[in-house]
Amino acid sequence: MEKDHEIIIAGFGGQGVLFAGMLLAHAALRIGRNVAWIPSYGPEMRGGTAGCTVILSHEEVGSPIISRPSAAIVMNEPSLAKYGPKVKEGGVLVVNRSLAKAPFSRNDIQVLEVPANEIAMEVGSDRAANMVALGALLRATEALPLDVVEEVMPEALGADKARFVTPNVEALRRGARLAETLLSPAAR
């Protein structure tokens, strides 16, 4: 049985940070998990900061507010600075090294350095960087089965964005494959 998780996904407006969290929420609902998704963003219509919290639980979720995530994805440097230190011991941090270049290390969590934008470009667009990072997170945490997340991609995207299903799924898989190679032997 998968563990409960309190996940933070953060970046700037336009990176698809909120969507990545919403995708997890859809997948969690599909397999009957209790889930809370709450967004957080600034006033800017373009750019600015964006983040969401996703809580995956086997019990009812009492509050969507968490102070220390069990896992996090940080898509840009300010997010790395803000949330990197907050991940709980034993947790997982996926860092988008395409944009977050500042030195960061902790030896009490699993830090996965993912050049998400570059990998996404190989799939066809750096807009899929969020999916690369998410794939890496899913492989490292096993929070939800990857195939369930792929299965709910059309419903999470909506009919008008159906053309993104295939590239998004491909980006998810690439992120998962990269995580596979990065995970330390102990975690495998």
Partner: protein
């Protein structure tokens, strides 16, 4: 002309107003806020008001306006800027106090505050930036949204049968006795921008002369929420907004006319 010769005769004719900070704004490409901010900064400089200005900022895209100016600012709760400005000006009448508000802030949630500050004739200036939508929250219908205009809460176009017609706030305020200067301008073209600058200058002078309440409504493009390019937004403003919100002085007492 050779480089050396042109350097010798070069003259600095344009620079950042001292009252504008060097911070990069967060506004969208094609937004009118940048233009209006610049006009305000230029006018504060020209009238020598920087040291004694306090601006009151709204909730909306301009919420962080205080970051873009080198003078004091105060944030207000949504719509309450005229009330906050009233407090500041009454306690410190020697200060130059203006509010900077959007059409949601001023015309929806702040309707009571603007009417009563204007009715009391507070010696403040209101810069009212009208883009016919709620901008920051994602382009919903505002009191100023035109009939037939598509917004995120009127996807089929504003239906007057359900949602009424847009409010001309400036014309309404002009029926009050106390206001001294109420005018409407636009920033959709260089000529319009020049007139907007002149109106802001007159309104600021109205306060400095202690004459009373002044308000400048500025029609402003919002490409992001109108779903058009910046160029199309300027055109839409001129062709659709201006006919309903006519440009020009709506109320101007004689003493203000002489400024």
């Amino acid at each position: 002309m050779s480089t050396a010769a042109s350097a010798a005769t070069a003259q600095l004719v344009l620079t950042r107003p001292r009252s504008l900070s060097t911070a990069v704004t967060h506004y969208c490409p094609g937004c009118g806020h940048g233009i209006v901010h610049r006009l305000v900064g230029e006018t504060i400089d020209e009238l020598g008001l920087q040291e004694r200005t306090v601006a009151v900022w709204p909730v909306g895209c301009a919420v962080f306006g205080y970051n873009y100016f080198e003078f004091d600012g105060c944030e207000a709760a949504h719509g309450r800027a005229p009330a906050v400005a009233t407090g500041i000006k009454r306690v410190h009448p020697e200060l130059f106090v203006f509010t900077y508000q959007g059409d949601g802030d001023l015309g929806a949630i702040g309707t009571a505050e603007i009417i009563h500050a204007a009715a009391r004739g507070e010696n403040i200036t209101v810069i009212f930036v009208n883009n016919a939508v709620y901008g920051m929250t994602g382009g919903q219908m505002a009191p100023t949204t035109l009939a037939g205009q598509r917004t995120t809460s009127t996807p089929g176009g504003r239906d007057p049968g359900r949602a009424g017609y847009p409010i001309r706030v400036s014309e309404m305020l002009a029926t009050l006795e106390a206001p001294r200067y109420i005018t409407r301008v636009s920033v959709h073209s260089p000529a319009a921008i020049r007139k907007a600058g002149a109106a802001i200058r007159r309104a600021f002078k109205c306060q400095v002369a202690g004459l009373g309440f002044s308000l400048v409504e500025v029609l402003s493009p919002c490409p992001t929420n109108w779903g058009v390019s910046p160029r199309e937004a300027q055109r839409w403003l001129e062709e659709r907004m201006v006919p309903y919100f006519p440009l020009g002085d709506i109320k101007m007492v004689a003493e203000v006319g002489k400024l």
